[in-house]
Amino acid sequence: MKQFIKKTVAALLCTVMVGTVMPLPVHAAANKIYSIAELEQTIKGIINWKKLDNGSTLEGPLINDAYLELAGTTPGDWYQVGMGRFGYSDDYAGYLAVIREKVQDRYKTSVKLSAAKATEWQRISLAILASGGDPTKAGVDANGNNINLIADGTYNRGKTTSLGKQGINGWIWGLIALDSKRYPVPEGAHDSRDSIIEEIIRQQLTDGGFALYGNVSDPDITAMAVQSLAPYYNSEKEYTYKNKTTGKTVTKKIRQVIDESVNCLSKMQLNSGDYNSWGTKNVESTAQVAVALCSLGIDIQTDGRFIKNGNSLLNGIMLYRMEDGGFVHSYTYDQDNPTSLPTESNTMASEQTLYTLTAIWRQAKGMRTLYDFRPEQSPGLKNQINALKKEINNLGNTPTTAKIAELMKKYEAIPESEQCYVFNYYKLSKAAENGGIEIKEESVETAAKEEAEKEEEEEESVLLYFTDTDKRKVKALPKDLTTEQYVDVIKLIDKLEKSEDFDKKKEYMDQLLNAKKEILDIQKEIDNINKDVKEKLYPFEKISLSDWSVVHSIVNRYKKLSPYDQKKILRWDDVVKTETQVDNLVRAVVITIVLGLLSIVAAVFVIKHIKKRKNRKLNEMLALEKEYEEKEKKEGKGA
């Protein structure tokens, strides 16, 4: 996002451009601790703001048709992550139906989802997961093969182009996507968990943090790196690698890398509790740090490292809340930006705050971290982990070797894929190290393998009921379809496919499939007209009479489109101009011909007239001559 770079950090999530004058802080009181109820109220406030922003109603879904048109783009994918993880009910089925179509469509191009950005796969994967779908079965490509967004967007991305083609965020979000369900990396994959981890940690800067570029850490990228590495905080594995900035070979555990990053983040926090990124105090950077800390089990409301001048991160975030429930990007008014609207809630600030508050809320409720999409832990497992955490906290300064060994055993008794939730394990590890007790080192891949060995989740095959409302919707489809009905038709087809049999199901399906085909044809025609305009009409200086039929065929095709679809033809005014141009040319020719013809007629008239006159004169002369002759004769006779 080079064109917005001043305040932009990560191409995937990054911050925004809109500066603002004096927002209206609703919760600005320092040192305030927020209850679960208050978090929920704030979260719902954001959702309600976005609903109205989308043109929906408070009772209607956030994921409405307007929102679904953007499925597969940054502003069309992130709200699901916040809402879905919060357990808010909305039209996730609609999203899954539409994103499936869009993914399949984009897979028909040579670059699939993107030439350079692996984050396209990663973001869509997370949005599908949050909506209750399966990114490893995201559709079918043109050859009939299953589309696995996790494989294509993480461990096998390198078979096409490097995960890091767009920079460090490709690696970071690749790891987050890969660990969203602890997907195992199969044999023969291009990258392994270890290779992705190493790519991230070798880019650590000397101040402990990370950046998209340069030597100074950026809060957003540092926080995102921590989010991705967090599941490995308890890993005892040592990585030996050459640091990219210093060129020195170092040996570190991931824990050490994260501790250094957290320390760096603590130092960067401002006295108001929030963060500065690229010279602008903003809510998104603050939000990313909060998500990172939650992923480590750190309580952001009480941890002293992240309370500055009595202001916690959450206090810092709440500074940006607007009266309409949404969040604003920054207070800083940007004088360079005369067209930006000040004091307005902003979609990116709001979407990032939404999932951040959800991460904090999940932590308070004892649920899994934001990007851990596995089913929630059983109460038994939760108790087991909590009991161990308590015992570790009570270890004291000089625990006995026997006690350490006992707790280690209890730790190892917890399934490896769940050990990361023993957030204070580092204390036990340190005690063991001090006591000279050997600690087992596991491969980072083990946890994922363990997860995969768990009984495969039963294929979700919920049978839906195609209601009368749905049937009415099919019947209400207009005879002359437009692309406006695309989202509706896709959603209805998806629902009908999953619904139990009923009388006339096939008729409904046929009608819907025909409608889909018709709409796709219209879309194709729109694309073709746009292409023809671009290729055949520009530049206009060369427009000549021979283009008349081309121009008019384009105009006629345009006229056949519905007004809704006509709006999708770009720069139509240029075509109107061209049409006038050729019509004027034609008119000039017609006028020339008419004038020419008239001249000829006039000329003929004149010539005829002259001839006639000549004849008349001749006749007169002759008559006169005759008369004269006769006169002479008479006179002669007389003489």
Partner: protein, 186 residues
Amino acid sequence: MKKDLLALGFIVLAIALILSGTKFQTVDEYYMTHIDDITPDSKTVTISIRCDTILDNWNDLVPELQSDEFVPQDGVILPETAYVLREGDTAFDITDRAVRYNKIQMEYQGANMNSYGSVYIQGIHYLYEFSCGPLSGWMYRVNGVFPNYGCSKYELKDGDIIEWVYTCDLGRDVGCIWMGGEWEEE
């Protein structure tokens, strides 16, 4: 005789009209078809598109694009060209007009497809963001200054100079000075 003269006069007039090639247009039509003609009274802006930086980072360029078909030898995709400034034109409008008139390939993300609320230029002349390393992509400056918001939000005024430049180093190699020092916290 009089009639003849009249007819002859008409013929002369018609021939004169045909030879002079006068177009028969309404005033509206005239304005519409001459909207882009530069006259002494026109408000104009100039635009250029360059990718010089790639020449210095040739090895980072994806191999498929390593050809002067995509990267002109002098780095100039569109030399400085003047266009008439129409009412309300943004930097994007002029850019789109320029690439259309010159048949230069361009791909962009619509204003509603990203969170910036502005059109984002992804690729020009088949050169895309990240085509030449992770810090590469298109940036624009107006009168030498890099605006930090999207081109479809930048309304132009008479005499503005728009330059699209390809960066391989997040702006540093094209003189985007705010990158370096302005970092400190308040």
